[in-house]
Amino acid sequence: MLPVYYSPIRKLWHYGLRIIVGLVLLFLIFPILVTIPLSFNVEPFFTFTEGMLKLDPVAYSTKWYVEFFTDHKWNLALKNSFYFAFMSTILATVLGTVAAVGLASDRMPFKSLITAILISPMIVPLVIIAAGMYFFYSAINIAGSDMAIIFAHAILGIPFVVITVTATLAGFDQSLLRASSSLGANPISTFFNVTFPLIRPGVISGALFAFVTSFDEVVLIIFLADPDQRTIPRQMFSGLREQINPTILAAASLLILISIILLFTIEILRRRSESKGMFQK
């Protein structure tokens, strides 16, 4: 309840703000809410049929999901998506975590310049990255190889790993490292026994971000991939341009599901590490 002494303008402000916020949040979530029911459409359209609006069960079907999981092209795309995302995540996570540990040291020379370089793949437009890689990978003869795509996707994932691991390291007590080495541990066992357990939530979050970045990426694939290297987003992209069909919506809904799982995992990790006081505000 609002306090009774509130002036009318104050009341208007109070409710007005809530209505605006509600509308904006609806605007944010609306496209996602629309996609999921449409993917169960029995008709091959992107529209709600009358039967769907009347909630008639006959108007709904899972046939586009069946198509997604049985069609040869989509199967190949699914396999490729997981393969590229998995490999590039490993590469990005290993390189990014090690670099973030170095970057957290107070003695790091050229710290801000190096940070800016490590974050830059997030800022440079994808078309420019794609064009540059297209020229360069052709010139060094690795165009069309799996390695080219794994490297390209790893590069896009690296900033996320660096950012999340650096954030966990912000609350990291560097004297723990000295304590560890004074007790006789070498740097490598210090890393695995002291540093890594403490930064693990950041590493896992970073890896998840890197995974989803690769899994959702389409521009670099358009420029760099051969037809047999098509991923789900690439398959969706050509579907949207050539022949619109609700299998695309089924694929989209599955990607949304993956995002939801990812989001909740990251939130849980964040909560857990926040309760340990690892994320510094």
């Binding site: 703000l17 605006i20 904006v24 949040l25 605007f27 944010l28 979530i29 496209p31 996602i32 629309v34 996609t35 449409l38 992107f46 529209t47 709600f48 390189l95 090690v98 670099a99 170095g102 003695r107 790091m108 020379p109 801000s112 940070t115 800016a116 370089i117 974050i119 793949p121 800022i123 440079v124 437009p125 994808l126 078309v127 420019i128 990255i129 064009a131 540059g132 020229f135 360069f136 790893a154 690296i158 996320f160 950012i163 740097p187 979050s205 971000f209 899994f215 959702d216 389409v218 987003p233 969706m236 949207l240 695309i248 919506l249 989209a252 990607l255 949304i256 939801i260 989001l263 939130e267």
Partner: protein, 423 residues
Amino acid sequence: MPNTDTTTNDTSDHLALNSEHTQKYNQAIRREKTKALVLVLPLLFFLIVFFITPIGYMLYRSFYNPTVANLAPKTAEILTQWQDISKLPNEETYKTLAYEIQQLQKSRLSGKFAEEVNRRLPRTGSVIKRTARKIKEIELDNVKNYQELLTSLHEKWGKPEIWTGIRSASDKFTINYYANALDYKLEPSGEIVKQSEDMQVYLPILQRTFTIALIITLLTFLLGYPVAYYLSLIPLKKASILLIFVLLPFWTSLLVRTTAWIAILQSNGVINQSLLSLHIIDKPLDIIYNQFSTILAMTHILLPFMILPLYSVMKGIDSSYVRAAQSLGANPFKAFIQVYFPLSLPGLSAGALLVFIISIGYYITPALIGGVDGQLISNLVAHHMRSTNNWELAAALGSVLLVLIIALYWIYDRLVGASNIKL
């Protein structure tokens, strides 16, 4: 005197001890520096080889085009000696070119040659192609006058203009593509002139990209500010539930969101369907494949980039400042504008710069739902990469965009700090 000596000795002893300490200290610091660097180096090396070098290579390609010089190397060489471009080149030049065109025709490369020269000087491609077709059958060793021969194959060989075209096309290094990318043209004589108004392609699109990016930044601010403000007021637990509405779209593939907008906006999509069934309109609205749909979908996609940094700054604003302002007599509106808003500016500048930077380089959404008037500069780069195969022009356009992005990123780094991007 000896006294002084002892003192000196003492001091030097003292100094020696000091410098030994300093040395050890410096060594320790150096070791730590090296250790930190060694950890960063693998990633830095990886990025330099597979990310920065490709971009550098693209920059290089934007002014380096050896195709013509490689196809007809002798002609390229001999044309550098041609001084007075108002007169025709000498007989030797005609002979060299005749032989090289015949050679190119035999190895089926004359089309490529013609196309490249045509790119520099329009309407010369057909001349070269026709000449090449006819010259194939001629026994060149028996020809007495090569100038007459070429001129008889096509009268344009009797004028210096086409030669200037070949010469400037055989320059390995050229700023021609940058001139084109900014709607200038490099005359074969070396002069740079602005394209006439109706021939301009790239500047208007660059301008459009900026305008659209500004509109989107403004819209995300207008929509995002109240949300971030409200989220910062309510208890953390409730805020983190509402934040799902922001984070879920943020982590959903932008292709998925663009797909959703197609389903919503298309002529028999959700919006048109509902408006039709409510009899508000009697024929579907054209709200997709134009600038409107591009701006709408991009605003939706980029809104979380505005809300999240704003929210993280607003969460830290102490509400007692605003209360203090009000108790000192400011009305709530004035207190908000003069006290709260300036405190939220760091979040606003971070969000706005991020949204602006991302939107001027945007590709996918305009490509899918931009229609004709919603295409941005990135789409042109892609177009020249994939459809016209004019890689050098694509590279030059990309470089122009890159310079803009780097400038903005530099401002962002100064203002916000690259490492302060929150996820």
